[in-house]
């Protein structure tokens, strides 16, 4: 029973699943007032090697650990400046070797408010400043205490993000964002646990985290192609000791590099396809995962409905 393991760390996965789709919490694209963009997404991520602390290794008792995520994502334009985003994921994990059973279930609902405070045109450039507030909450009572096969960490999160977008000649863009994530403590199904000390409680103090995201590429109404660099760093936590299991409050860091595409159908501009891939290039107490993902989105224009309502009330 030495499943020395490292985590696909699920939050990164969520983020990865959202890379691809435009109108997400990590890009500078806003939905217009009363437009509702929604669609199913799928992502697959897997790793064979992981970092035990800073040491990279593999574990023959896990083989390749894979995570699939099925999600419904959406973005609603409250106004041209204010959007509400959500993500509802179902996650399935699996290890290709060893005896441990993979887990499956509804993971965490995330909700976010996205507010574009500044959107200023200067010659051929446009600069936007966007602020976001959001959080996530587990949708089911899944077991968090079986990394790397658990489907999530059970922590409730709250996060704040600041994003700067630079858009040139209606074609080229670069977006950078910084996020601070607060993570609530987690309660385990046990009476005590050992981190770098022995704790006589079932409650685990989860380190908070920061995340940085840089993306740049080509963006028009019809097509987007971008490269993405993402970093996640926990503020504290401890390293996996040699041949130990990973633990939910480990110091989990990861940097990944990826690319995304979006294609909008000219004859049905409400419909779009997105796809992307990313690779973790550096990490600590994390699996070195490769991720591919895709999604279909459809934009509903709810303006007519609102007019009707208005007429009704007038």
């Amino acid at each position: 029973m030495k499943l020395t393991i490292k985590t696909v760390w699920i939050m990164l996965l969520c983020v990865a699943a959202k890379y691809s789709s435009a109108q997400t919490d990590l890009d500078a694209i806003m939905m217009e007032k009363n437009a509702f963009c929604v669609g199913p997404g799928y992502s697959y991520s897997s790793w064979k090697e992981y970092w035990e602390g800073t040491k990279k290794r593999e574990n023959l008792n896990l083989g390749t650990v894979s995570t699939q995520m099925f999600a419904v994502m959406g973005n609603y334009g409250v106004s041209n400046k204010l959007n509400v985003l959500f993500n509802v994921p179902y996650v399935v994990t699996k290890a290709s070797a060893g005896t441990l059973r993979g887990q499956r279930g509804m993971q965490d609902l995330s909700l976010m408010l996205k507010y574009r405070a500044i959107n200023k045109k200067v010659f051929n450039n446009r600069i936007a400043l966007i602020g976001m507030l959001g959080g996530s909450i587990p949708l089911s009572n899944y077991t968090a205490d079986l990394l790397p096969l658990s489907i999530g960490l059970q922590s409730k999160t709250a996060m704040a993000r600041l994003m700067l977008d630079y858009y040139y000649d209606n074609k080229w863009f670069a977006t950078a964002s910084a996020t601070y994530v607060y993570r609530s403590n987690v309660t385990l199904d046990r009476d005590s646990y050992y981190t770098d000390q022995f704790i006589l409680s079932n409650e685990v103090n989860m380190p908070n985290a920061t995340s940085y995201n840089i993306r740049a590429g080509y963006r028009t109404q019809w097509i987007i192609a971008e490269a993405v660099l993402n970093n996640w760093t926990t503020k504290g936590g401890f390293d996996i000791t040699q041949n130990n299991m990973p633990f939910i409050s480990n110091r989990m860091n990861a940097t990944s590099l990826g690319a995304n595409f979006k294609f909008v159908f000219r004859n049905t501009p409400q419909l779009s396809l997105t796809g992307g891939a990313s690779q973790v290039i550096a990490g600590r107490n994390m699996g070195q995962s490769f991720n591919v993902n895709g999604a279909v989105f459809y934009v509903f224009d709810l303006n007519k409905k609102e007019k009707k309502n208005k007429q009704g009330t007038n």
């Binding site: 029973m1 106004s79 509400v84 060893g98 059973r101 609530s184 409650e203 989860m206 041949n243």
Partner: protein, 516 residues
């Protein structure tokens, strides 16, 4: 403007709720009140020790007179500490005040959890063996797996008990009063008692721990010395003991512990790892009977955990009794219909365990980097003992009964495991995936069940009002291994029964040790 008020409110509430929650964790026993025994057990010097031939086997010199200048100097030491005591010192003083046996038991559980990690394989796929003479090498010594842990808990508890019985003998013999009874200008920061203070019971426990943990956790000497010093000083600062009470207690604890160290060096645990020829022989012997022998499910294949632990010297019965009266009958033949049914039942839980059953699996898993199942039962016992207001000597006696029975449970269980050498469910049916880590040794009987059967039985004797609760816990611990898909029902049921029998031997001892 059309605004979805509900969604926005939800997000804002979420943020506010999350941020407003304090992240500080309060450990269960952090604020435990100071030990204030309901009964000081003044006659505990007559209780039956485990290894000592008599309570005065090791001499403790008579204390100096309270009227002498030496004693006055010791009183002044207390006063000088108390003059400049800091908040942090007070906090630590209260920590130790909750009880010497309790705190050192918690420290032990922490050490077990820290060292409960299996060695990493060599590049050629073999595994190194932890070496007591090189504890800092890779792999670290020890690998505090469940049998190792059960043995460490048992020796430490039994040694504390014997040393405290001896201490109580001398307390009554010399009857030196506590400093606050001799000098009424001494302030006490912990509850006063009528127990004579020489030698100090806290220091006795400290002396035992210093010596015993050299054997069991040789890499932890610096940390243990620091805790020991802090504990001893806390007693002086609190006005509970003078320096000479402490010194006499520590010396006595160390001497008694040496007797247990000597026993441990000769109890055959050192040879429990076995060797490659032996591992092969066990497999061949079982195959020759027509049964499927156990094989390691790990990659690379790991040698079985302590295959000769079943030959380690027991506390509560002799080796002949173990083989004739305690070793369970054989498991269902791997070719039998019953075995097929039991495999099918495991497969069922492997696929269909409920969330509630999984919570049970994880609550009792006590796997890597935990205090192990014996540690879990120590935690259950300690949490309950706090409310009982036992004296230190009774705490030690009860912990010794619990831990001697669990070490014997480990020995009997490992004897059965390696006598029958039968395969795990995942070995006979690869469709069986497990909800928790699969232990690397044969299936029959379940270790968790045997430990729990023994623990619940003796704890039910110690706190009769909790008897049914302990029995239910033991059943749950036992079934958790079936729900987790790592044991057949026979493993769990037979293990539990075997544990109950072993617990019965502990009860017999408890009935005759003079503590009732």
């Amino acid at each position: 403007m059309y605004i979805n008020i509900k969604q926005i409110t939800a997000v804002v509430l979420l943020c506010v709720t999350a941020v407003s929650c304090s992240k500080e964790i309060t450990e269960r026993t952090k604020t435990t009140a100071a030990l204030n025994p309901a009964n000081i057990d003044i006659d505990a010097g007559t209780w039956k020790p485990v290894l000592l031939t008599a309570p005065n086997e090791f001499a403790v010199a008579a204390p100096g007179a309270a009227s002498g200048p030496g004693y006055t100097a010791e009183i002044n030491e207390i006063k000088s500490y108390q003059k400049s005591i800091t908040g942090a010192q007070k906090e630590r003083l209260n920590y130790w005040g909750a009880g010497a046996v309790l705190r050192w038991n918690e420290i032990m559980r922490g050490l077990v959890a820290k060292y409960n990690l299996p060695p990493f394989q060599n590049p050629d796929g073999t595994y190194p063996v932890p070496d007591a003479n090189n504890p800092f090498n890779n792999p670290q010594f020890p690998f505090a797996n469940p049998p190792y842990a059960s043995r460490a808990y048992a020796y430490v508890s039994a040694a504390q008990y014997d040393a405290l019985v001896a201490a109580w003998h001398y307390k009554k013999l010399y009857n030196r009063l506590a400093p606050y009874k001799i000098n009424n200008t001494i302030t006490t920061l912990l509850p006063q008692t009528d127990l004579p203070s020489y030698p100090s019971e806290d220091a006795v426990v400290v002396g035992v721990m210093i010596e015993m943990l050299k054997l069991f956790f040789p890499g932890e000497q610096a940390a243990i010395q620091q805790l020991a010093t802090e504990h001893k000083n806390a007693r002086i600062m609190a006005g509970m003991n003078v320096r000479s009470d402490i010194e006499a207690g520590e010396a006595l604890g160390r001497l008694v512990a040496q007797k247990f160290v000597t026993r441990a060096r000769g109890d055959r645990a050192g040879a429990a790892v076995g060797n490659a020829a032996l591992w092969q022989q066990m497999e061949t012997q079982t195959a020759a009977t027509g049964e499927t022998p156990w094989i390691s499910m790990e990659s690379p294949k790991r040698p079985p955990m302590l295959p000769l632990f079943g030959r380690v010297r027991t506390w509560l019965f002799d080796s002949l009794t173990m083989v004739t009266s305690i070793r369970p009958g054989p498991p269902p033949s791997t070719k039998s219909e019953k075995f097929k049914q039991e495999v099918a039942e495991v497969l069922h839980y492997s696929k269909n365990a409920t969330r509630e059953q999984l919570a049970t699996v994880h609550y009792w898993a006590d796997g890597l980097a935990t205090h192990t199942p014996p540690g879990h039962w120590n935690a259950i016992a300690a949490d309950d003992f706090i409310g009982q207001r036992f004296s230190e000597v009774r705490w030690a006696r009860n912990m010794a009964l619990l831990n001697m029975s669990m070490m014997d449970a480990a020995i009997a269980c490992w004897d059965a495991k390696f006598f029958y050498f039968n395969p795990r469910p995942s070995q006979v049916n690869p469709e069986i995936k497990t909800w928790t880590g699969l232990p690397n040794f044969p299936s029959y009987t379940s270790g968790h069940s045997t430990f729990s059967g023994a623990a619940a039985t003796i704890l039910g004797r110690i706190i009769p009002s909790r008897k049914t609760a302990y029995e239910n816990m033991a059943k749950e611990a036992s079934l958790s291994r079936l729900y987790g898909a790592i044991h057949y029902r026979s493993d769990c049921e037979e293990g539990l029964k075997c544990g109950n029998v072993i617990g019965g031997y502990a009860i017999s001892r408890a009935n005759l040790d003079g503590a009732n």
